[in-house]
Symmetry: C2
Subunit: 328 residues, 2 copies
């Protein structure tokens, strides 16, 4: 491996473009190639001189890439690509289907060990930075309660669910945390908060021609898992307004831990994010962890890892003595 960390991007959607932009701000890393399932000749990369290649050819470039950042989706891309590519490359991905992380970890771990590679899974802000804050909260204040709130922001999974409702042409869904619930979480009273109390869901929906608005709304607000357990508001708007007013991908949220020490002294920790672009921020986290993955691989580590396994100093381009002097 050369001193500059050579990064490959697998998948060139919003997340892949975010990784490309984040790499431009990392002086110790360079983009060595973009891999796509689309026609590579049709790809317009932002970076000059970087080759675009077909995903089918990717195995041929194993010697050119120190860490491959997987930018596919968690629903159908990563369950297949994660293990397959971890057998060929050191990888970092943002697999975010929380309930399936254990099985995904096992599949990627086996493939990475077989191939002699290191694979960092479920990197981003949740799972990722939020997970770390949950862990700290619990480790430092074991006698307490933890809360995660998301939003206000666009949930891709819930927007996709809206688009699958018959009669819906296009849609965007915002997850909105309850200010009142956040205040109660911060209070130190360790309240038990229901799903409905914590978040509301607001939907902006473009109907197909001739669709029955009332039926669509009913189908949405009663949809199990996605909407039935929440206070859900549905707004019907035009396609032009959806594009104009709801095209950005802001997000954010907070992790609150409140607990007691000593004879009942109250202590509170809180981490919050306000993100102008969810995919660009996730991409920035992926790039920092790709630096760590490269270092762990060089140290001979093999198999799957998560953010819980990565010493924070490995994320920085600075040397340990520099970090102690400047940031400790």
């Amino acid at each position: 491996m050369s001193d500059t960390i050579r990064i490959g991007i697998a998948g060139y959607g919003n997340l892949g473009r975010g990784v490309e932009a984040a790499l431009a701000r990392a002086p110790d890393m360079k983009l060595a190639g973009v891999f796509t399932r689309r026609d590579p000749a049709a790809l317009r990369l932002a970076s000059a001189g970087v080759p675009a290649r077909g995903m089918d050819d990717i195995a041929r470039f194993a010697a050119d890439i120190d860490v491959l950042i997987l930018c596919g989706g968690s629903k159908s891309d990563l369950p297949e690509q994660g293990p397959a590519l971890a057998a060929l490359f050191n990888t970092v991905d943002s697999f975010d289907t929380h309930a399936r992380i254990p099985e995904y970890f096992e599949a990627v771990d086996a493939a990475a060990r077989r191939g002699g590679h290191l694979a960092l899974i479920s990197v981003g802000w949740d799972p990722g930075l939020f997970s770390l804050q949950r862990l700290w909260g619990e480790a430092v204040l074991p006698d307490g309660a933890g809360y995660s709130f998301w939003g206000k922001g666009v949930s891709q999974g819930h927007s996709d669910a809206l688009r699958r409702v018959p009669g819906v042409k296009d849609a965007v869904q915002y997850t909105i945390p309850s200010e009142q619930a956040m205040a109660r979480a911060r209070s130190g009273d360790n309240p038990v908060l229901t799903t409905r109390e914590k978040h509301a869901r607001e939907c902006f929906v473009v109907l197909q021609a001739g669709a029955d608005a009332a039926a669509v709304e009913q189908a949405i607000v009663t949809m199990p898992d996605y909407f039935a357990d929440y206070d859900t508001t549905v707004h019907f708007i035009g396609a032009e307004e959806l594009r104009r007013e709801h095209g950005a991908m802001p997000h954010g949220g907070c992790v609150i831990r409140s607990g007691a020490t000593g004879a009942g002294t109250r202590q509170a920790m809180e981490f919050s994010l306000r993100l102008g672009s969810n995919p660009e921020f996730t991409a920035s986290v992926l790039v920092a962890y790709a630096r760590a993955a490269s270092r762990l691989a060089r140290q001979g580590e093999r198999g799957a890892r998560t953010v819980f396994d990565v010493a924070p100093g490995l994320l920085s381009p600075k040397a340990p003595a520099e970090l102690r002097r400047e940031l400790l």
Copy 2:
């Protein structure tokens, strides 16, 4: 080593008592001994059945302690105790004189390697959890600006400085962050904030009989390093009021990182603490890192480390698979 992590406490002041209380909430750890420079027979421990011993005897108990938590002060205790005790035990300390961390690290590192031990230095919330947030901020949003604010809370160092002023009998100093400066740090405009703009200092002072209040106030507000660069307010109060109103040790603060991704998208990260008791919270962080120190030592790691070197999963009593399932 037994499965239960056997902890020793070196120094039984506010911090040592906080460690004792935090250990009572850690089912995988137990307090094996308290070491003091005072008369051990005079020590009233909160824990039943735990021996109190003289610090001079500490070397005799090396086989009984997996990790020794150093609870002395950074000004005069730790510079001497840190290296001396790291030669005999695995240690964790909260050395917090930021400017002297590099030399302290070197001294402890050499001693720990000589003795075949692991020493985690500068653990707490700042240095400690705040340092980690500064590192993440920089690693994830390199094109940005970072800010640390402290308070409102009692600064032990500044309170001590007040007590050294001729004519002062007793005193407490609060560090107060500027709401306006915090708002500007959060704005995303990456302002350059002066020392005076970021924090104010409020002093509650009990005068010695016959002292000249005006001269004391002048000596305080012009004191270099501690007060001259800040807007400092001095209140003269009675000894009883000081004890009654200013005896608690609340603290807190926040680390703000604001930066740009992509073509200038604004992203913001913030970590904040609201602490009912500074020493009890610091002690809780020390105990979580003592767990990590024990694990690193068992893995054969030797020498000095900081929070930057510790994989977060090591702080939790839970197994890696449990952490992935529950917290990732």
